[in-house]
């Protein structure tokens, strides 16, 4: 895992996120039954250098992450899409907001089966917890 900090939702950050997921044994165990790709979408935030909404699409399968690719939101094919503004993702990435609490409070939008996602709530939380291990340079702080 690189010690260099990257801006979230960039290819370098996505690669480090994938490494973090792969290295996390808690996630691997909790997500043993999760078999679907997931896209995390960041709303456009031009003032922070995100002129358009951007997605990181994670190829997740039974606790593993076989790919983490930055895409235009139109190109996302994952059956599960979680979408939120920058401030919300920042809270999630720092472990200050549980992703499922974000969903229930309406701060994170969901596309895909809510029933399935909620059956696997602990694996969703563990996935986002992996982002905490990624050295991140938050653009509103630099």
């Amino acid at each position: 895992m690189s010690a260099v900090a990257h801006r979230p939702f960039t290819p370098e950050w996505a690669a480090a996120f994938q490494d973090a997921i792969e290295a996390d044994m808690t996630y691997r165990e909790l997500a043993a039954k999760w078999t679907w790709p997931v896209a995390l979408v960041l709303d456009a935030a031009p003032e922070l250098g995100y002129p358009d909404a951007v997605a990181v699409e994670l190829t997740l399968d039974r606790g593993r992450c076989h790919g983490a690719v930055i895409r235009h939101t139109d190109a996302v094919t994952a059956p599960f899409v979680l979408r939120a503004p920058y401030a919300t993702w920042k809270l999630v990435m720092r472990g200050e907001l549980d992703p499922l609490a974000g969903v229930t409070r309406g701060r994170i939008g969901v596309k895909g089966s809510l029933a399935t996602l909620m059956m696997h709530a602990r694996s969703a939380s563990a996935l986002c917890a992996c982002a905490r291990a990624v050295p991140t340079r938050f653009p509103d702080e630099s």
Partner: protein, 292 residues
Amino acid sequence: MPLTAAQFTSPYFSLYSKAKQLHWDPADVDLSADRAQWAMIKREHAGERYDEQILRLTSLFYEGEESVTRTLAPFCSAVSRAGLGVDKELFLTTQLYEEAKHFDFFARYFAEVFEVDGAITRQYITPAPQAVLIADLEEVTERLRRAEGRDRIIPVFAESVTHYMGVVEAMLARTGYVGAHDALATRGWLPGLQEGFRLVKRDEGRHVTFGMRCIAELTAERPELREVVSATFERHLPNVLATVAEFDYPQPLVDIDKLSAYALAQYQRFAAAAGLGGEVLSEAEYAEEGDR
């Protein structure tokens, strides 16, 4: 139809027996301290909008209990028409009586403590709770009432049990009562309302256990019903979440994260009972629900 020896010792019959032992009367709950406290909350905590939050919460309970009182009768008749067991019918008679008592408790509370007409509750019933607690529940139980023939009744019964006991009672009612009771208990407020919440919550535990048992039994016999259970949750989850999110005030009375986590756990248990989680509930987990 006679009660068979197996039914006499069935989990449904023991839930029925428990209901008889844990009888309570809404008229006996002591509300004498609540009126002065309610005046204090309105006077001293208007800034946090605690009075509004308490009214919103109790309005949902009032409306919800009224709705489940009106929509339970088709279950009794459907169980009988489909021959699903006299033990289930016996239990449902206790539930019908209990739902009426829950409604009775809130009606009394509004009149004696809030000193307002129950009609005030309507202003807090926004589209999400209106759909999941009232309109959609009426719709499915009306279909249950009209269903004819065992093979037609059973899928609608599974859908109705999932909606009534799984979505409304497990995810919304029990969660709401646990959250509301905690919120008042930590502040030492409204002891009569706390006591009502505690008694209602204990009854709801049995109702949820009954629903989980029915769903486990039905889906074990007819695995295709798992799809019905799953589709029913899928349909109503957005309204459940929207209802919980209404308590996300700037200075929330209830701990909304705890509330969400509890609702989620209730869903997962119900789904597991239906065989959707790949795990089967242990006897201890069922018992825990019914006893609390």
